[in-house]
Symmetry: C2
Subunit: 292 residues, 2 copies
DNA sequence: AGATAGTATCTAAAAAATAGATGGTACGGG
DNA sequence: CCCGTACCATCTATTTTTTAGATACTATCT
């Protein structure tokens, strides 16, 4: 089977001829001789074994087959542009893909707009965002499976990771509206321990400082925890923004507690590997998320 | 801004070098001199302004940037193959796109497998299927907005369209299980006329021979009619296959009627314009649908 | 009919792709 | 450790392709 023998230049010539309406006009536009365009189109017709233009009139007009080829050509050249763009961002920013591991607890209203800005600033960058929970974020960054992590600060520090403070997430203790806990007023840890807790937990089994009850279900997403709380499975600790809708709908109640510090504000951090090369993209993301 | 200056040949060279593991092996595989491959890669590196290979070792190895470019190149060359494929089918079958207007009433179990076979036989053909109702099918074919129509035969004949008999669709009269009509035994048109009818109707407002009741809602899809019947809006006439699930679930009841002929078997036809050029694709579709 | 704008094709010149030869480097096996 | 093998870059000469310019012919408008 014969290979594709057409060239991108031929396709570019085709599109310009179509746009300008004639071989001569296209040649003038390109600053080339008319015969060049004539040859390009002729060769393309030979390569594709298709007549693209009807030349019987004064101006060449596309045949139906020609129109179909023009559509395909536009698409192909767009892909070629994309390849160039990827190459350019590779050359400028040393990177073609950025993997972000973001704990949903560490997200706030600034994250999504920042991602939009990222897509606009680096239009050919490929971005991958995943949402691990708690320590899984740091693990992904440590193992190089993510370039940057957004995580809530756990009790331990990261000796091996670089980090920058981002902000704080307000946490609330919630439970289904009809639950017995709602009638007990201000609660202490002893009271909470008597009821089933729904704990947001990563894949790393650990003794969480947040586990207050021996009766404990574990889920891997804050949204899952909220849904279980709504269903009445038990009480849980989640970011205020995740519980907002449920509270507004009257399905969830906030419990007032007299818990020890740390206050129910959880600091969130941006983390990355010390040995990571800070290229243009990394620098942009770090600056953006820390400053906005 | 500088344009893309790389060529498809350079990308092909890149992929073959990667596949064969060295410039020399790639050159042998292509029956060319090694210097040719060397130049192709060098020029590509210049055009993209990126180092693709690390040549320090005995065998060249891709740089990380090179790997990203290889991915893009594979994709782009695949698109180029597709363009060739489209061109070839254009040249062989005179057509790049086939529009099928199929009344859902005329469909049966043979249609979808035939479409699968179509996609396999003409892999680069672009297919568009829409589901107009009743006379709208013939209208689309007449106006050239569809190449082929699948329609149920209405009382009138198509003087201006070519057609082939396909088969017959069994029709049933259905109503919600709790509806008053279910208690009346065998029905005549007078009885039906007393209750609201849900009529499947095209955009052409017409006096349908199926309209038996003056109380009549019109919907443009058999599935819409089935849903309305389930909801208890009224009785309706639809193909047996469309009512099957609802009947099995006990939500719909079939009414026994003593209606005039035509029997509740509705012939379905394949239609196309007399003046349509019967190319390879048209011929294949017509033969396939009529014979299977 | 004449002026104008268009395309195909021919010829010659410029540019690019290719082959072949040569020198230098990495790597593995005696 | 050294030698044979396999590799790549680069140089030169040659072939092929692309391009420009000139010319002949056709369509269209006035």
């Amino acid at each position: 089977m014969e290979q594709n023998r057409f060239t991108l230049d031929q396709l570019r010539a085709l599109l310009i001829v179509v746009e300008k309406g004639s071989f001569s006009a296209a040649a003038r536009h390109l600053g080339k001789a008319q015969s060049v365009l004539s040859h390009h189109i002729q060769n393309l017709e030979i390569d594709l074994d298709i007549i693209l233009f009807d030349r019987s009139g004064r101006y060449p007009t596309l045949t139906p087959a020609g129109e179909a080829v023009v559509e395909q050509a536009k698409f192909l050249l767009q892909q070629a542009d994309h390849l160039s763009g990827v190459a350019k961002s590779l050359q400028e920013y040393q990177r073609e893909k950025l993997v972000i591991a973001a704990d949903e607890m560490a997200l706030d209203g600034r994250f999504d707009p920042s991602m939009l800005a990222l897509s606009q600033t680096f239009p050919h960058l490929s971005v991958e965002i995943c949402h691990p929970v708690l320590k899984d974020v740091a693990t992904m960054v440590r193992e190089g499976r993510a370039d940057i992590g957004l995580t809530v600060q756990m009790s331990d520090v990261y000796d091996d990771l670089a980090f920058a403070r981002l902000g704080a997430t307000k946490m609330v203790v919630i439970v289904e509206t009809g639950h017995a806990l709602t009638e007990l007023g201000t609660l202490d840890t002893i009271a909470l321990a008597r009821y089933r807790q729904v704990l947001v937990s990563g894949t790393i089994q650990e003794n969480s400082p947040w586990q207050l009850s021996p009766l404990c279900w574990r889920v891997s997403s804050i949204w899952g925890a909220v849904e279980l709380a709504k269903a009445g499975v038990g009480w849980t600790i989640v970011p205020a923004f995740a519980a907002k809708d449920g509270i507004a709908q009257g399905k969830l109640a906030v419990l007032t507690t007299k818990l020890d510090p740390p206050e129910w504000e959880l600091p969130s951090d941006l983390i990355w590997r010390h040995d990571a090369r800070i290229d243009g993209v990394m620098e942009w993301v770090i600056n953006r998320l820390c400053s906005v």
